[in-house]
């Protein structure tokens, strides 16, 4: 849930790449368009202005004037010049002395700025100025008229000043058309830029996705996972490094597994090799035991000690061999439908524990079990309880309906001091001694480990805990019908206090 939220809040690699591409495209297109636009606009305006000023000069130069000008001749001049204005008719305002005349009704124009008038009057040069009034652009020109001939200096002032005003609509339309073209061109350009953006994102994302899949596959234990190395970029380097690491890891794990297998085989071999001489020794010690009464007391004690220790050694070797079979996965489950209560009762009876154990065994609970292994489980737990706990030991049986299916639950509860909290997590470890002072106990130190393996083999769990009312409780939960498939190794086994 939180991860999903995080993923929503996080911008993905693809989105980032596409955004970066689009940003680059926008900046490139925008900058280029703006620069081109500005250049083109100034070129368009420049040409319009230069043409207009040149034409105004030429039109006026084609006239012959009578001095002094009269109101009529001044108006005539403005009409003639205005008529020939290109590309648009001009508004022409001619001034002479105190006379003002134009080719329109107003003799002067508000569009002509003071600055233009001053500069045109002060210097013998043509001048122009662009002005914008009410959102409309105009070109205003001032042209002082002097007397003289082309190429002859000096010239004399004539006192005539001609101003012309020309709308720049057409130029503005052209400029606007460029803006529109840039805008209309930009959107398709962005759409086109999206294609390489997505392609680039894909080319980056595919290796990343492959890496993720491979990493997760390795995490699930498939150490032979490799990635296809394509190209020679950084991602290919990464894939190559990943493959190298995976190869190293696989080799290390393989070596570890081999070493462990060797160690287990060695333990199995040792116990097997010990068995034959031990069998002989057991036979001899039995004979010696029988004759011990006839020996002198010191020798008799020694003989009994040897006999007892040999018996323990035999148990240890048997347990070791049993554990080795589990490690080698050679332990097989011989299932049989049995009455569980009856099986437990038989176990107790065989070991003569009926008097020390209080039972709560309801009849009629039938389960598919390996009777031999179940016997070992019960015997180990009850034996443990009797040795380390205190009487009375209670064995109870019940069934439970769990989501995974029906379960048969066996509980062994002693009345001892319970288990120390620091012992609980290790109670099922091999050769773990809960009571450090009693290093030489009756058991082999493998009893609970074997119990655990047997329960696992059934697809069940065993749990050690302290009862709230005191005493240790071992709970074995077995399925009524074990799964056909072998139970997964390393199934969670909890060993925690109930309280």
């Amino acid at each position: 849930m939180i991860r999903a939220l995080k993923r929503l809040g996080r911008i993905g690699l693809r989105a980032r790449l596409v955004a970066a591409f689009l940003l680059v495209a926008v900046i490139a297109a925008g900058t280029t368009a703006t620069l081109i636009y500005q250049e083109a606009r100034s070129a368009i305006l420049q040409q319009a202005q230069d043409t207009a000023v040149d034409q105004l000069r030429e039109q006026i130069g084609a006239q012959k004037v009578e001095l002094p000008m009269t109101r009529d001749s001044l108006r005539q001049l403005s009409l003639t010049v205005g008529r020939q204005g290109k590309p648009h008719p001009w508004y022409v305002y001619a001034e002479y002395g105190t006379l003002r005349a134009s080719n329109v009704s107003q003799p002067t124009s508000a569009l002509l700025s003071e600055d233009l008038r001053r500069r045109a009057g002060a210097n013998p040069h043509g001048t122009f100025q662009r002005v914008v009034k009410d959102g409309k652009p105009w070109l205003t020109m001032g042209m002082p008229v002097r007397l003289g001939k082309e190429g002859m200096q000096p010239t004399q002032p004539s006192g005539i000043m001609v101003y012309a005003v020309m709308p720049l609509n057409a130029e503005e339309d052209t400029v606007q058309a460029m803006v529109n073209a840039a805008r209309d061109g930009a959107l398709p350009a962005l759409a086109i830029a999206l294609v390489p953006a997505l392609l680039a994102a894909r080319s980056v994302l595919r290796p990343v996705r492959d890496l993720r899949r491979a990493a997760s596959s390795m995490g699930k234990g498939r150490l032979d996972t490799r990635i296809e190395v394509k190209g020679s970029d950084e991602l290919a380097d990464l894939a190559w490094t990943f493959n190298e690491s995976a190869r190293e890891l696989e080799r290390s794990v393989e070596e570890l597994q081999k070493a462990e297998a060797r160690a287990r085989r060695f333990a199995a071999d040792v116990s097997h090799e010990l068995r034959t001489p031990l069998a002989g020794m057991l036979a001899v010690t039995e004979v010696l035991d029988e004759d011990a009464d006839r020996l002198d007391p010191d020798t008799a004690a020694a003989v009994r000690l040897v006999s007892a220790e040999t018996g323990k050694l035999a148990t240890l070797v048997d347990d070791l061999m049993e554990i080795s079979r589990f490690d080698a996965k050679a332990a097989a489950l011989n299932l049989d439908e049995v009455d569980v209560a009856e099986t437990i009762a038989k176990t107790l009876q065989r070991r003569r524990w009926e008097e020390e154990v209080v039972v709560g065994l309801p009849d009629g609970i039938r389960a598919m079990l390996d009777p031999r292994r179940f016997d070992i489980v019960v015997a180990n737990l009850v034996g443990n309880a009797l040795r380390h706990g205190a009487a009375p030991v209670r064995v109870t049986l019940r069934t439970e309906e769990l989501p995974e299916g029906p379960r048969v639950v066996t509980e062994v509860h002693d009345s001892g001091p319970g288990l120390a909290p620091d012992v609980l997590p290790h109670i099922f470890d091999r050769f773990f001694k809960a009571d450090a002072a009693r290093t030489r106990s009756v058991g082999s130190g493998l009893g609970l480990a074997i119990t655990l393996e047997n329960v696992r083999l059934h697809g069940g769990t065993v749990r050690a805990a302290n009862h709230p009312d005191g005493g240790a409780v071992f709970t074995v939960v077995l399925p009524l019908r074990p799964p056909v498939a072998e139970p997964l190794p390393g199934e969670p086994l909890s060993a925690e206090p109930v309280s």
Binding site: Y37, F128, V132
Partner: protein, 163 residues
């Protein structure tokens, strides 16, 4: 800290360029090229002489038709005749007093000597310029002529015509 700043810079680039973007913008006054040149009717070859009168921004020439007798003396005499109705209608005046007396004129290289029989000390600066320009342009196109005015009170060397 570095990354956002780069991003902001990248975004600023078009933003800086954009304000100067749309439409036709107003401009300052720009001077381009020469003024317009016109010829007068009649020109000097057809008897026209330029007489300089006072306009709103300094002295201006008006063309008088001498009917073929375009000389410097004639031009100066026509200047002393004063502005006509058409000149006055256009706001042109003269600061020279009306003078219809005898007048002497002597040409010596680039020097023109004018002799009038009246006081000349009280001639204003504009009046002197009118006289100088009229005499100079009647004599030579370039106007590079020194005019010496002799009255019955003093002799003045007039400033050269600026045109």
């Amino acid at each position: 800290m570095r990354r956002p700043r780069t991003g902001v810079l990248a975004l600023l680039l078009p933003a800086v360029l954009l304000p100067a973007a749309c439409g036709v913008r107003p401009s300052g006054v720009v001077e381009v090229g020469d003024p317009a040149l016109v010829q007068t009717v009649p020109d000097a070859a057809h008897g026209g002489v330029a007489v300089y009168l006072k306009g709103p921004d300094g002295v201006l020439p008006v063309i008088r038709d001498t009917e073929g007798k375009a000389t410097a003396g004639r031009a100066v005499m026509m200047l002393f005749d004063g502005p006509r109705d058409a000149d006055r209608a256009a706001g042109l005046t003269s600061e020279l007093p009306s003078y219809f007396g005898a007048m002497g004129m002597e040409l010596d290289g680039t020097t023109v000597r004018i002799t009038v029989y009246r006081p000349v000390r009280d001639f204003s600066a504009v009046a002197r310029q009118q006289l100088s320009c009229t005499a100079a342009h009647a004599r030579e196109d370039s106007g590079a002529v020194t005019v010496v005015l002799k009255g019955n009170d003093t002799t003045l060397t007039l400033e050269r015509c600026p045109f």
